[in-house]
């Protein structure tokens, strides 16, 4: 006996259910394949980016320790990064100390520990707040300016012009900027710490009359060398991170003018994020050692 197979109607055509299922399966496998390919491409881009970053850092170190250093440009960058950041860092330092004092004073008064205020502010500023807040401010100012400057140089073929005129742009533009940031940012952080304590004294004087030398004597009596050392060491890493991220993003910017903005923006975001990650690692290491 011959069994009659049921037909179903798809797109005005009568087809067997098994053929329809086959078509559906093919369509689904195509969608899955496309999604898999897209994910593979994303993973590929991610690993390519990581490889490029590693190559960039390796090239930076190679160029740092080979001959023909651009010492004059390095000094120029120290001036640009260090000296030209002083007004911003001064304001940040003073406000940081003042606000911390104004916020902490009522709490300490509740416990009758107002005399601990200078020491507490000094320790918090030097160990954590000074490096992190100054580092973030520097990431905003310096990493973005490096990203934008190198990005626009890339767009307007200035980097290629440098290469053609027998100048190593990696040495002239990147090495000088990264080392200048690595050396200047710790100095800016120490400067911000000092102004922070000064701001704290000013904050304490808003609602009282505190002697300047007594306040400073109390503040420094609570600080040991061991408070300063990890903060200084990590600030060198902050400087290196800011310099490397700013230069990497600018040096590898795309061709259009839009890419200058993207380079500057992503330099700030990534440098700030990495700075906080470095801080967490530094705190953990300091904790383990101490």
């Amino acid at each position: 006996m011959k069994i009659k197979k049921p037909l179903i109607k798809v797109n005005q055509k009568l087809i067997l259910p098994v053929i329809r299922a086959k078509g559906y399966a093919t369509q689904q496998s195509l969608i899955i394949s496309e999604k898999t390919l897209a994910k593979t491409q994303l993973a590929n881009n991610f690993f390519t980016d990581i490889a490029n970053v590693c190559l960039f850092i390796a090239r930076f170190f190679k160029e740092s320790f080979t001959r023909n250093h651009e010492f004059k440009e390095f000094l120029n960058q120290c001036f640009q990064i260090g000296y030209k950041s002083l007004p911003l860092i001064s304001v940040t330092g003073v406000i940081m100390g003042m606000v911390l004092t104004i916020q902490s004073r009522p709490v300490l008064m509740t416990f009758g520990a107002e005399s601990m205020l200078p020491g507490m502010v000094a320790v918090s500023l030097i160990r954590e707040m000074g490096p992190v807040i100054t580092g973030l401010i520097c990431a905003g100012k310096i990493a973005s300016s490096m990203g934008a400057e190198l990005g626009s140089m890339k767009v307007t073929e200035q980097i290629e012009a440098m290469e053609v005129s027998s100048t190593n742009p990696m040495k002239f533009l990147v090495v000088t900027r990264v080392w200048a940031a690595t050396l200047m940012i710790p100095l800016l952080i120490l400067y911000a710490d000092a102004l922070g304590i000064l701001g704290s004294w000013a904050g304490a004087n808003l609602k009282g009359d505190v002697n300047f030398s007594l306040f400073f004597a109390q503040a420094f009596s609570h600080i040991d060398f061991i408070d300063l050392l990890p903060a200084v060491v990590k600030s060198f890493f902050f400087g290196a991170v800011i310099g490397l991220v700013g230069c990497y993003k600018g040096y590898n910017a795309g061709r259009g003018t839009e890419s200058v903005g993207i380079a500057a923006n992503s330099a700030v975001v990534i440098a700030s994020l990495l700075l906080l990650i470095v801080d967490v690692i530094a705190v953990q290491i300091t904790d383990m050692i101490m």
Partner: protein
């Protein structure tokens, strides 16, 4: 006429004497799936102005960027002044680049430096033996040659497009190159300034005895400067000949350029 029917006019090539100072053989370069140059071969002879003509996107700029190794080719050989670029290490390439001047499309002046610093930048790296006095004299000399001796202390942002091109040309010739590569020297300039730049290219060739490759799609610049013209179309050489041969060509593509 298709790309396979390339017009190579041997008569114009035969007039050149001696060894070519740039010789490119079977150059191929692609970016992803896009084949920008497909099997390009050319020669530049001593004292010659070779104009590379073609539509936008035909691979003209890519071609001269390969000559200074700003871009690496996929295959083919490039010999510049007897040196094979594929066999050069970084320092040898640096030495070779000192003999080549490259005028970028945008001028590529360093924005953060004055005109004097822009000119001094190249001198300090390529002509290290010069004293400060000799450097200053050389700077003034090239600025006079491009007719901008009063722009010494100006910033690039204070210069017009034509002035930027002239200063950029001064920066290139200050180191006495043997070969000049011009990437669209008259693009974005008014006709009067374009003519001035074309005249300056000829002046540089005569005064500094350079050989040049000029990338352009500006026909007036071609007419003013070309000893020989090479036309690129879709990454391939479409025609190689003299200005007269191009002017008399019946080919529709060439006629569309030489209206």
């Amino acid at each position: 006429m298709g790309a396979s029917q390339t017009i190579i006019n041997n008569a114009s090539v035969k007039t050149r004497s001696g060894e070519p100072i740039i010789e490119i053989k079977n150059l191929q370069i692609s970016f992803g799936n896009q084949h920008v140059l497909k099997d390009v071969s050319l020669q530049l002879f001593n004292g010659e102005n070779l104009v590379v003509l073609g539509k936008s996107g035909s691979g003209k700029s890519v071609l001269i960027k390969c000559i200074v190794s700003l871009l690496n080719s996929d295959s083919g050989t490039i010999n510049v002044l007897g040196e094979n670029l594929n066999e050069l290490n970084t320092s040898s390439l640096g030495e070779l680049r000192k003999k080549i001047g490259f005028l970028f499309q945008s001028g590529a002046l360093y924005d953060s430096m004055t005109v004097k610093q822009n000119l001094e930048f190249a001198l300090l790296r390529i002509k290290r033996e010069l004293t400060q006095k000799e450097r200053d004299e050389k700077i003034l000399e090239v600025l006079e040659n491009v007719g901008l001796s009063d722009a010494l202390n100006k910033m690039p942002s204070q210069l017009s497009g034509g002035m930027r091109k002239r200063i950029s040309l001064a920066r290139t010739i200050i180191v006495d190159p043997l070969i000049m590569l011009y990437d669209e020297p008259t693009t974005g300039l008014d006709p009067v300034t374009s003519d001035e730049i074309s005249a300056l290219i000829n002046k540089v060739q005569k005064k500094y005895k350079t050989s040049s490759i000029i990338i352009t799609h500006d026909i007036e610049c071609v007419r003013a400067t070309a000893d020989r013209i090479l036309m690129l179309q879709d990454g391939e050489i479409y025609m190689d000949g003299s200005l007269e041969e191009y002017e008399n060509s019946k080919d529709p593509l060439i006629k569309s350029f030489f209206k």
